[in-house]
């Protein structure tokens, strides 16, 4: 079946934060909208809506993606994890290093940081800064974010 431009609804089954669900959506719907408006999971934020800022970062099959660039039908059968899956206490290092001010970028930053915590081997080839570069922040100037992620990883300063 192709995805028709007319607004016939389609059913998309996927796993959200460990629970299997099925959503009925319009073919043009983005995963970001499905999460926020269909499922009332408003922790995931919209910033630019164009893949630049990372505010909408979720994990899809274990990898960070921008949910504003994922058509919901492509989540069919996928494992999606959102900020709602993150335990409260685990973001403490980000608070204590000034990684968050207005907080608009924070859910995306936390999703990338949590992914990095589970994929430490990537630090053999990448710096924390490069791995966090897809999460823009207008307020903090990044040092707080990088320091926060590094302290969560139990590392010293970048480079």
């Amino acid at each position: 079946m192709t995805m028709p431009a007319d607004q016939t609804q389609i059913e998309v089954p996927f796993t959200l934060n460990g629970s299997e669900i099925v959503v009925r959506v319009e073919p043009s719907e983005r995963l970001l909208d499905t999460l926020r408006y269909h499922l009332a999971m408003t922790g995931t934020k919209e910033g630019c809506g164009e893949g630049e800022c990372g505010a909408c970062t979720v994990n899809m099959n274990g990898l960070p993606v921008n949910s504003c660039l994922v058509p919901t039908y492509q989540a069919r059968g996928a494992e999606i994890e959102t900020i709602e899956s993150v335990q409260h206490g685990s973001v403490h290092p980000l608070h204590s290093t000034g990684a968050t001010q207005c907080g608009a970028c924070t859910p995306g930053v936390v999703m990338s940081a949590m992914w990095l915590l589970k994929n430490r081997d990537k630090l053999d080839t990448h710096t924390v800064r490069e791995l966090m570069a897809g999460n823009l922040c207008r307020c903090t100037g990044y040092d707080g974010i990088v320091n926060g992620v590094e302290s969560a990883l139990g590392l010293g300063s970048d480079e």
Binding site: M1, T2, M3, P4, A5, P27, S28, R30, G49, E50, G51, E52, G54, T57, M60, L63, P64, V65, N66, C68, L69, V70, P71, Y73, Q74, R76, S112, T125, E130, L131, A133, G134, N135, L136
Partner: protein, 279 residues
């Protein structure tokens, strides 16, 4: 939703240009939902076509199926060891959230003059396989683009595979001069490779398409002495045709390209640099 290449290709054929394949969606959805023409299109979702996934190494080639993501290549240690250009290019595409979704096939068919994946692939002599209802054709990537967003691909054809010869490289370099390190749209991009098959130079953002630079390649083959970056300018002007745009001027781009070439090649080539004997 198609689950095989043959199914997808026959859907493309019957749609007569109305259906647009969608792979990672990072180009197609980037201006969503304002881009009105995209709304009138029917998307043909390739995410169920497993035949288009993954990459393999044979004795003499790296074969990437069209949906191979940038991130997949970033994580392949063999790619880092043998075809560093691919990994370096992939690491500059947006940031990790784009690399995990963006595909090499999408980068090629989107046909941006600034495409970074295309730049690396062109310097590594990649060959494309295009599959349509009538079968599969091969096209050399450096002959694929005909003009701005024009290419040798019919609407019923899918890009299915990208094949890259495995060669013994003595030099590979990827340079992207942009405004910011991450998420930058290239102003000048350059890929240089040297193997037993000779020099390859490709440039992006310097012409309506990503382009190979045969005059520059010949200068290097001939070991033409180069004392200053400006000695590259005549060949650059023969090979590429940058335009003035909001991001920079044509003359600026030519000079940047000349300086990058000089900087990259001087440590390697005795005939490039102030000490070269051009008189």
């Amino acid at each position: 939703m198609p689950t095989s290449v043959s199914e997808a290709v026959s859907m493309l054929d019957t749609s007569r240009g109305k259906a647009l394949p969608i792979a990672g969606g990072t180009d197609l959805l980037a201006y969503w939902p304002e881009r009105l023409d995209a709304r009138d299109k029917t998307y043909l979702d390739l995410s169920g076509v497993d035949e288009l996934c993954g990459h393999t190494w044979t004795d003499d080639e790296l074969i990437m199926r069209a949906r191979t993501t940038f991130w997949e290549i970033v994580c392949d240690q063999r790619a880092t060891a043998e075809m560093r250009l691919l990994v370096e290019a992939a690491r500059t595409v947006g940031a990790i959230q784009i690399q995990t979704r963006g595909t090499w096939g999408g980068n090629i068919v989107n046909a941006s003059p600034a495409a970074d994946g295309v730049l690396a692939l062109m310097a590594l002599d990649a060959t494309l396989e295009l599959t349509g209802v009538e079968g599969t054709e091969e096209v050399q990537l450096d002959e694929f683009y005909l003009g701005y967003k024009q290419m040798k691909r019919r609407e019923d054809q899918l890009l299915t595979r990208i094949r890259i010869p495995r060669r013994a490289y003595t030099f590979q370099s990827f340079t992207k001069i942009g405004t910011r390190k991450a998420q930058a749209i290239t102003k000048v991009g350059l890929a240089i490779a040297k193997s037993d098959s000779g020099w390859r130079i490709a440039a992006n953002s310097m012409a309506p398409t990503v382009k190979r630079c045969p005059d520059l390649e010949r200068m290097l083959e001939d070991e033409t002495p180069i004392r200053n970056p400006t000695d590259f300018l005549p060949a650059i002007r023969a090979d590429v045709s940058p335009i003035d745009d909001i991001r920079s001027t044509a003359a600026y781009r030519e000079h940047v390209m000349a300086r990058v070439l000089f900087h990259e090649l001087a440590p390697l080539c005795p005939w490039v640099g102030a000490k070269s004997k051009s008189e």
